[in-house]
Every structure is written in structure tokens, then in C-alpha cells.
């Protein structure tokens, strides 16, 4: 049996190759990470050491792949007259693969190839997207460009620090903040269309629902998160960051005002997106409290943002957009619930390690967390392999609705 029947279907739209690669990579990365953590094997020598490898690859490998898939598909909905050609998409995928390989080999061949391929990937994406989003009347979607530019700048900072032998981790922590902003923006677009029944062929509710992702609240949330991330970059460990993190947590809770729309909230899709915001709020809350109460270890709280908010948001975006754009219609199947719960289990068990009395169980907690994470994305691969590699069921071509 051929695994991929049809490369022409696979490269017909951006979400297909990138969602597939991202879900595979999510498993690969955590598989190696848990083996390393439990001392079964060592990781390849890479720039910045194992922790930097883990964070960098989760963000610039896994998360960025999903965002590339999302934006190269959504661009057709944002601006109708342009898009990304098959060759351009293949080039993006190739650059992404080269970026991964070169980073894994950065201990051997040096960090220049990794820097070149990874920075080129983002720059090429910006070259492809910016003109049409800029020409769009009113420029409603330029915020995506700004976040990608931000990501590019931070990645430059990361490689600069690596080249000059300075600490690289602050850059990666700032990238987490920017990823949160990117997720908030992407989710605001998806949620508006989904909840108000504007997505073609998707009707979650019988009655009309009025949900507005209001820009002012979103802007406050983005502003506070950006402020905290920058402060953390400039003055790591400062008490000021604690208050800023609390401000970000409160701003996230404030964002939930838009979501309190009664019964429709309890639709599983809607509730999952709602839960992402709660995870972000609690992540920043615990980060703030840890900083203010002088707890040195805040990586536990950080995993509420990464494993929790980012993991769940990415999973929802991949399953929802994947179903919509392959023409299969939106269906909340039981395995989606299982995967969602698995991501929550992965988050909680990872966060618990930071709890003082749980330190001794850290090895088993990491194991539970990793297995749950891998389960969630394995289910995605199992149920989406045919959808992503096969032609769209309703015969449509490319990404177009």
C-alpha cells in the first residue's frame, strides 16, 4: 500500500503538508525529549544545549509549521485575488525541512546553516504574504505580518546571541509570548467565523448566535503579553515582570468577556477555544505569582502556556481547519475529545512537577505528560492521514471554498 497516493493532492493547499509534518514532528520531538529526560539516550549536540533544542524546535519547528499551514490557507479567505502557488508551497516545505535538519546538525556543522535556512523561511513567507495583505483595503489582516516580523526579529536575536556566546534562552521565552499573541490573533479570526456560522458548510448552532471578538480587549491582551515578554527579555528575573505577568493574566480573563454568550459556549469546539484562553490566563497568573514570591522555577507555569494553551489551540486549529478545507464537514468526533483531554493531562502532569512536593515524582510525571501528548497527536495522524493526503471530497481544488 502506498502511504501517499497523490502528491498533487498533498501540495494542493498549505495546510495539508504543514499540518501533517507538524503532527509527526510533535511526536518525534517529545519522543526524543522524554528518552533524554529519563537518561535513556543523549540528544545530538546542538546550539544552546538540550533545553534550547527542546524549546526552539517546539516553537520554530512544530508551532511555526502549524502557523505556516494556517496562514497559507487562510490567505485565500483574507484576500481573494491571490494565493501561494504549488511551487512556492513546496519551497516553503523544503526550507522548513532544511531548517530542521540544519538545526539538528548545528553541533557538527556549526550554526550558520541553521540560521540561514530558518531565517530564510520566515523572510520568504513574508515576501509571499505581505504585498497582498498590504494591498487589502483597510489592511485588516496585517497583524499576522507584524507577528511574523516579530518572530523573525527574535529569531535573529537568538542566532546573534548564539554567535556571540551570550544566553539564548531569554530570546526563546520571548518567542513564547509572541506565539501566544499569534494564537490570540488566529483564534479571533477562526472563532468569529465558526461561532457566527459564517464558515461555509459549518453550522454549529440552530439559532443565530452573536459573538464579537472585540478588538479593544484583544489589543489590551496583546499589549500586556508583549510588554511582559519584552521585559523578560531585557531584565530577566526582575520583580517588575511579576506584575506585568499578572496584568497579562487579568487581560486574558478580560478577553473572556467576549465569550460569555450563554449556551453556545458549551459547544465542544467553542468550549475548547474558550479553554485555551483560560490556560493562557492561568499560565501568566502562575508565572506572575512565582516571580513575585521569589520562586526560581517558573518553567512549570510556562508549560501552561506551551503544552496547554499552544498545544490545545494548535490541535483545535488543525482539526477544525483540516475538516473544513478537505470538504469533510465539521464533526466533533469522540477521538477529538480524547486528544483534547490528553493534551490537558499532558499539561497538568508537566505543571505538577513544579509543585515542591511533587519533585520526587518528576520522572514519572514527565513520562505521563509525554505519552499523553504523543497520544493526542497520534490520533490526529491516524484520523487525518487520508484526509490530508487525498483529494478534497467535494472535488474542489486548492484551498478555495
Amino acid at each position: 500500500m502506498k502511504l501517499i497516493n497523490n502528491t498533487s493532492a498533498l501540495f494542493s493547499c498549505g495546510f495539508r503538508p504543514f499540518f501533517l509534518l507538524a503532527s509527526i514532528y510533535a511526536i518525534v520531538l517529545i519522543f526524543f525529549w522524554v528518552l533524554f529526560w529519563n537518561g535513556v539516550m543523549i540528544l545530538p549536540e546542538t546550539l544552546g544545549g538540550p533545553v534550547a533544542w527542546h524549546v526552539y524546535e517546539m516553537l520554530y519547528g512544530f508551532m511555526l509549521a502549524v502557523m505556516l499551514g494556517f496562514i497559507s490557507t487562510a490567505i485565500y479567505e483574507f484576500v481573494s485575488f491571490t494565493g501561494i502557488s504549488r511551487q512556492q508551497l513546496m519551497a516553503l516545505v523544503l526550507l522548513w525541512l532544511l531548517g530542521r535538519i540544519s538545526f539538528w546538525l548545528s553541533g557538527i556543522v556549526g550554526l550558520i546553516p541553521a540560521a540561514v535556512f530558518n531565517l530564510t523561511l520566515l523572510m520568504y513567507l513574508l515576501v509571499l504574504l505581505t504585498p497582498s495583505l498590504w494591498r487589502d483595503p483597510g489592511r485588516p489582516h496585517m497583524s499576522f505580518i507584524y507577528t511574523f516580523v516579530g518572530l523573525l526579529l527574535i529569531e535573529c536575536g537568538f542566532y546573534y546571541s548564539a554567535l556571540t556566546g551570550q544566553a539564548v534562552m531569554p530570546w526563546l521565552y520571548t518567542s513564547i509570548g509572541l506565539s501566544m499573541i499569534m494564537i490570540i490573533i488566529a483564534m479571533s479570526r477562526i472563532s468569529m467565523r465558526v461561532i457566527n456560522g459564517m464558515e461555509e458548510g459549518v453550522q454549529l448552532f440552530k439559532q443565530d448566535v452573536e459573538y464579537l471578538a472585540r478588538p479593544p480587549r484583544r489589543k489590551i491582551a496583546i499589549f500586556t503579553i508583549a510588554l511582559f515578554s519584552l521585559a523578560e527579555l531585557i531584565m530577566p528575573g526582575n520583580l517588575i515582570n511579576g506584575w506585568l505577568a499578572l496584568a497579562a493574566a487579568a487581560a486574558m480573563l478580560n478577553l473572556l468577556n467576549d465569550w460569555h454568550i450563554g449556551r453556545p459556549l458549551f459547544n465542544p469546539w467553542v468550549f475548547s477555544m474558550y479553554a485555551v484562553y483560560w490556560l493562557m490566563a492561568s499560565g501568566y497568573l502562575f508565572i506572575g505569582l512565582s516571580i513575585l514570591s521569589d520562586v526560581p522555577e517558573i518553567n512549570g507555569a510556562r508549560h501552561l502556556l506551551t503544552t496547554g494553551a499552544m498545544g490545545l489551540a494548535i490541535f483545535i486549529i488543525m482539526t477544525f481547519s483540516g475538516q473544513v478545507h478537505t470538504g469533510y464537514g465539521v464533526n466533533y468526533r469522540p477521538w477529538i475529545l480524547i486528544s483534547t483531554l490528553a493534551i490537558l493531562v499532558a499539561t497538568l502532569s508537566r505543571v505538577l512537577i513544579a509543585w515542591p512536593t511533587m519533585m520526587e515524582h518528576s520522572a514519572s510525571l514527565i513520562l505521563i505528560s509525554s505519552i499523553a501528548w504523543m497520544l493526542a497527536f497520534s490520533l490526529f495522524i491516524i484520523f487525518f492521514w487520508r484526509l490530508l493526503t487525498g483529494a478534497a471530497i467535494d472535488g474542489r481544488e486548492g484551498c478555495l471554498d
Partner: protein, 261 residues
């Protein structure tokens, strides 16, 4: 009764929208923390230190008495000023002559610095409760008066005609046609007056009395205890925030539901 029901119904959504305000306040605390890092603990104690001192203070019987005393004085002065200010303001506003005549007098009252009133009050009433109460009353009165005056002056003539055409009795003309309009001017004035009363009372106490928050501030100043000073400031401002956002703002929203949003 109806107002109370609506207030309770909209309260959860209103409280939740308070997270935006809380977020801003945290940013302010970050700024405060920064000030502390620039100027040092002695000059500008850190927020957490001030909160710890405040917690200790609030556990003592004495601090609670000071807060109650100050609260009572501010409240008494505030109530007197809103009663006199509202009644006189509406009366003056209903007559063109009276409103023209009262303008310069109000300007004088607004221009009079509160500190001058404190000195006068000290001479008249000595170090009694009356000094802060009086100062609060005269400082708040012009704000309320102007609000009431504006409200009464801007009554819509066309609605008056409508009321006459439908032969509404005088009590209905007042309650249904005049009052809601005037209230929409009065209420914001009351809120400003409340903030004003709270500030003035502390100042008056600092200079004129031996009890209350103002006096406690004077003591902490003489001890060069900046943490205690900040703690008292937090207590005073915190109480004002609670009264304004938990009590007055939701009521105002209910009263003004008819306005364009």
C-alpha cells in the same frame, strides 16, 4: 426594586469586565515597582512591602477605627454637599435669572483652594469633626451645584410641550420628564464629588485633627515610615476604587441604560 433586580442581573457580567481595570492596575503596580528599583526602599518602598504593612495595619483595632472615622467624616460632608448642591442647583437651573446670577459665585467657590477652607474651618470649629466635614462640604458643593444647574438648564423644551399636550400632572412632569434628565447630569457630578470628598478629608485630617487616616499619615511621616505611608495611601485609594466601581458605576449604568451606547 426593579433597579435592584437589574443591578443583580447585570452584576456578574459587570464584575467580569472589571478584569480590564485590574489589568491596568497591575501595570501601575509594575510602574511602582520600577520606581522602587530606581529610588530605593527608603524613598519609595516596593508594592509588596506596602501591602505587607497594610495587612498588619488592618489587623489592628486602631487602624480600623481610623478608617471608620475618616469614612464617616467624608460621608457626612459628601451627603450634606450633594443634598444642598442638588437642591440649590436644580432650583437655580430652572430660572434663567438665578443661573446667570449664581455663575460668578460658583466660580469663586471653585477657585477657592481647599487649603484656605481648612484654615478658616480650623479658626471657626477648632480641632473637631466639624473641620473636615465642613471642608469636604464646601469643596464638593460647587461640583454638585454645577452638575444640577446644567441638568436643569438643558431640559428639552420639546418634551415639556409634549408633557403639556398629554396633560401630565405636575408630579409626573417632575418624576418622568425632568428628573431622569437631571439625574444623568447629577450622577457623574456626585461621583466626582465622592472622589473629591475622599481626598479632601485626608488632607483636612492631616492638618487639623488628631485621629483619622490623615492624622495617621502625619504620624508615619514624622517617623519617616514610608512603607506605612504607602500602606495608608493604598488603603484610602483602594476603598475609593471599591465604592466607585462596585457601587456607583453599576448603578450609573442601570440609570443610563436608555442612552446611546
Amino acid at each position: 426594586m426593579n433597579l435592584l433586580r437589574l443591578w443583580l442581573r447585570d452584576l456578574p457580567a459587570y464584575l467580569w469586565s472589571g478584569w480590564g481595570a485590574i489589568s491596568s492596575l497591575f501595570l501601575l503596580l509594575a510602574l511602582w515597582q520600577w520606581g522602587n528599583q530606581v529610588y530605593g526602599d527608603l524613598v519609595f518602598p516596593a508594592p509588596l512591602d506596602a501591602f505587607i504593612v497594610l495587612k498588619k495595619l488592618l489587623l489592628t483595632e486602631q487602624a480600623r477605627t481610623e478608617l471608620l472615622t475618616t469614612g464617616w467624616r467624608a460621608f457626612a460632608g459628601f451627603i450634606i454637599s450633594i443634598i444642598i448642591g442638588s437642591v440649590l442647583g436644580i432650583t437655580a437651573g430652572l430660572s434663567v435669572t438665578a443661573s446667570i446670577m449664581s455663575r460668578p459665585i460658583v466660580t469663586v467657590l471653585v477657585g477657592m483652594p481647599p487649603i484656605a477652607w481648612i484654615v478658616l474651618a480650623l479658626l471657626w470649629f477648632g480641632a473637631t469633626d466639624m473641620t473636615p466635614i465642613f471642608t469636604v462640604t464646601v469643596a464638593c458643593f460647587p461640583i454638585v451645584f454645577v452638575g444640577a444647574l446644567q441638568g436643569a438648564r438643558t431640559l428639552d423644551g420639546s418634551l415639556k410641550d409634549m408633557a403639556r399636550a398629554f396633560k401630565l400632572p405636575p408630579y409626573m412632569i417632575f418624576l418622568d420628564v425632568y428628573l431622569p434628565h437631571i439625574i444623568s447630569y447629577l450622577f457623574p457630578a456626585w461621583i466626582s464629588a465622592l472622589g473629591m470628598s475622599w481626598k479632601i478629608v485626608v488632607m483636612a485630617e492631616l492638618l487639623a485633627t488628631s485621629d483619622g487616616v490623615g492624622a495617621a499619615l502625619a504620624v508615619s511621616r514624622s517617623h519617616l515610615d514610608t512603607s506605612a505611608t504607602m500602606a495608608w495611601i493604598v488603603a484610602v485609594v483602594g476603598l475609593l476604587l471599591i465604592i466607585e466601581y462596585l457601587l456607583l458605576e453599576p448603578v450609573k449604568r442601570q440609570i443610563e441604560r436608555w442612552r446611546n451606547e
